[in-house]
C-alpha cells in the first residue's frame, strides 16, 4: 500500500510538468463546464418548461464523457513516458510487486479523473444556480445522480484499462493516445440512448450501463494485468 502511494505522488509530480496532461486535466473539464453552462443558460427562457429539463439533461451527459477523457493523457504518459525515458528497468529492480505497480499506475489516472469529474459537476451546478437562480425541478433526478456518481469511477476505470493495454504495446505517445481515445465509444452509448429517448433516464438504464462497464473493465484489466508482469515489461515492451 505504501509503495502504491509513493508511485502516485511521483507520477502526479511529473504530470504537473507535462503540458498535455495539464491541458487534459484542467482545460478540458473547464471547457465542458463552460459548454454545459452555456447550454442551460440559453434554455432558461425559451420554450416550455419540459425543454429546460431536457437541455439540463443533455448538459449532464457531458459529465459522463469527462471521466473517459480526463485520464487518457495521464495514463498514456505514465506508461509511454516510462518507456521513452528507459525508467522501467530501475523501477522494476526495486522491491515493488507487479501488482503494486499495476494498481499504482491505474490509480494515478483513475483518481484525478473521478475527482475532477465530480469537481466539474459541482462547479457546473454552482455556476448554474448563480446564473439561473435555481436548478430546474425534475432535472437532478436520482438516475442522473446515480449516473454521475456511480458510473464515473467505472467509466474512468474502463478508459484507463484500455489506455494501459494500448500504451504497453504502443511505441509512441501519439499512437497510444489516438488508439486509447476509442475508449470513449462505450461512454457514448448511454449518451446516444439518452438523447434519442429525450426523457429523464431511468435507474434501470444506469444499472445496465454499470454492469456492461464492469464486465468490460474486468476483461480489459485482466489482459492489462497480464501485460504488466516484470518479465513481459522487460522483454516484450518496445
Amino acid at each position: 500500500m505504501r509503495r502504491i502511494s509513493v508511485i502516485l505522488f511521483k507520477e502526479w509530480k511529473e504530470s504537473l510538468r507535462n503540458k498535455m496532461i495539464l491541458f487534459g486535466a484542467i482545460f478540458l473539464p473547464l471547457l465542458m463546464v463552460g459548454a454545459a453552462v452555456a447550454m442551460v443558460y440559453q434554455g432558461r427562457t425559451s420554450g416550455p418548461p419540459g425543454a429546460e429539463v431536457a437541455l439540463f439533461n443533455t448538459a449532464l451527459m457531458y459529465f459522463l464523457i469527462l471521466p473517459v477523457i480526463i485520464p487518457l493523457a495521464i495514463a498514456v504518459y505514465s506508461i509511454v513516458g516510462e518507456k521513452e525515458q528507459g525508467t522501467l528497468e530501475p523501477l522494476l529492480a526495486t522491491p515493488i510487486s507487479d501488482w503494486e505497480l499495476f494498481v499504482g499506475k491505474a490509480l494515478v489516472s483513475v483518481l484525478p479523473a473521478v475527482v475532477l469529474t465530480w469537481g466539474s459537476f459541482g462547479l457546473f451546478l454552482g455556476v448554474s444556480v448563480a446564473l439561473l437562480g435555481r436548478i430546474p425541478p425534475h432535472a437532478l433526478t436520482a438516475p442522473w445522480l446515480a449516473a454521475v456518481f456511480g458510473l464515473t469511477p467505472l467509466l474512468s476505470l474502463f478508459s484507463v484499462g484500455v489506455t494501459m493495454l494500448v500504451s504497453s504495446r504502443a511505441t509512441d505517445a501519439r499512437a497510444a493516445y489516438e488508439f486509447s481515445s476509442l475508449a470513449v465509444l462505450p461512454a457514448l452509448v448511454p449518451l446516444i440512448i439518452y438523447s434519442t429517448r429525450k426523457t429523464i433516464v431511468s435507474l434501470g438504464l444506469v444499472a445496465v450501463e454499470g454492469v456492461v462497464l464492469l464486465v468490460g473493465s474486468a476483461v480489459v484489466l485482466y489482459f492489462a494485468i497480464r501485460m504488466f508482469r516484470r518479465e513481459q515489461i522487460l522483454t516484450r515492451w518496445k
Binding site: 505504501r2 509513493v6 528497468e89 530501475p90
Partner: protein, 305 residues
C-alpha cells in the same frame, strides 16, 4: 554472495546465457567482461531477479532466485545500462522516490549523502533531464546505492564519465569493497577491470575464462623478462641456457627470457650476461595487459565454434 548453477536464458531461439556456473564471494569485486551481445546485461537481469532463467538455479545474498525475488531486489542495487532517470523530476525528487520504494528509513538523509558524495547537492533542484550525461550517470549510481545494498550490479558504470568522475566511481568501488559489499562489474574498460577486480570472468554466452587478472595473464603467458643490449652478439641465446631459463627468444634485437621466478632469477641472469660481455641497457618485466588476454581468448573462443 552470488552462486549460480547451470543458469540459462533464451530469447526465442537465441541463447543469451548458457549454463553459467559462478560463485562470487562476499566483499569481492567481480569483473564480468565480454563483447557486445555477450549476454552480460542479461546475466545482471537474471541475478537481480528481473527476469527468470529458463534453466538453472542461483542464490543472491543468500536468497534463492525465483523463490525470494522480492527480498533479493531489496538487497541488491542495480545500475542499469542506461541511466533511465525521470527527466521531469528534480534530481532530489527522483532519488527520494527510489529511496522510498526501497523503504529506506531516513530517505532524505541518504539522498543528501549520496548527492554530496557525487558533488551534485547543488543541483538537487534541477530537473534530471537538464543534467549532462555524466552527471545523469552519477545520479543513477546514487540511485543504485541509496538503500545500501549488499550486492551491487554495475553495468558499465564509467562508460560516459570524464576521467575525474570515473575516478570517483572507482574510488567508491574501492570503498565499498572495504565495507564488505559485493560488486558485480560489467565493463568494456579492461584497464579498469584489471585495476579494480579481485577476479574477472571472460564471458561470451558461456564462461570462457575465470580467475584473478594476474592468474589469468600468467597462466596464459608465463612471466618474461626483456633485456635490452647495446650490441647484441649473435649466438647469445645459446650461451644463456641456464638451468632455470625456460626459453630465450630474440625480438627486435632484444632478448625475451621466460622465467618461473624472475625476482630470484633475474639477478643471476644479468650476472651471466655481463660475464658473457653483453652491455645491458635495460631490464624490464614484460607486462601483458588484460586487453591482450581478452583479445587472445575471444579469438580462441571464436575459432572453437
Amino acid at each position: 554472495m552470488i552462486a549460480t548453477e547451470g543458469l540459462t536464458r533464451r530469447f526465442g531461439d537465441l541463447v543469451a546465457v548458457e549454463n553459467l556456473d559462478l560463485v562470487v564471494a562476499k566483499g569481492e569485486v567481480f569483473g564480468f567482461l565480454g563483447p557486445n551481445g555477450a549476454g552480460k546485461t542479461t546475466t545482471i537481469r537474471l541475478l537481480s531477479a528481473l527476469i527468470a532463467p529458463d534453466a538453472g538455479t542461483g542464490t543472491v545474498a543468500g536468497l534463492e532466485l525465483g523463490r525470494q525475488n522480492r527480498a533479493i531486489r531489496q538487497r541488491v542495487g542495480v545500475l542499469t545500462e542506461t541511466p533511465g532517470l525521470y527527466k521531469r523530476l528534480s534530481v532530489g525528487d527522483g532519488l527520494l522516490f527510489f529511496a522510498r520504494l526501497y523503504s529506506v528509513p531516513d530517505p532524505a538523509r541518504e539522498v543528501e549523502r549520496y548527492l554530496r558524495l557525487f558533488d551534485l547537492w547543488d543541483r538537487r533542484r534541477d530537473l534530471a533531464g537538464s543534467l549532462s550525461k555524466g552527471m545523469q550517470q552519477k545520479v543513477a549510481i546514487a540511485r543504485a546505492l541509496v538503500h545500501d545494498p549488499a550486492v551491487l550490479f554495475l553495468d558499465e558504470p564509467t562508460a560516459s564519465l570524464d576521467p575525474e568522475a570515473a575516478k570517483v566511481v572507482r574510488d567508491l568501488i574501492e570503498t565499498l569493497r572495504t565495507k564488505e559489499r559485493t560488486i558485480f562489474l560489467c565493463t568494456h574498460n579492461l584497464d579498469e577491470a584489471d585495476r579494480l577486480c579481485d577476479r574477472v570472468a571472460l564471458f561470451k554466452r558461456r564462461l570462457i575464462a575465470l580467475g584473478s587478472p594476474q592468474e589469468l595473464k600468467e597462466g596464459r603467458y608465463g612471466r618474461r623478462t626483456v633485456v635490452h643490449l647495446a650490441h647484441p652478439r649473435p649466438g647469445l641465446e645459446e650461451a644463456l641456457r641456464l638451468p632455470f631459463v625456460k626459453k630465450v627468444e630474440r625480438v627486435d634485437g632484444k632478448l625475451l627470457v621466460s622465467l618461473a621466478d624472475p625476482e630470484r632469477q633475474n639477478p643471476v641472469l644479468v650476472r651471466r650476461l655481463v660475464e658473457l660481455g653483453a652491455e645491458v641497457q635495460f631490464v624490464n618485466e614484460l607486462r601483458y595487459s588484460l586487453e591482450d588476454l581478452y583479445l587472445d581468448l575471444l579469438e580462441g573462443s571464436d575459432a572453437a565454434h
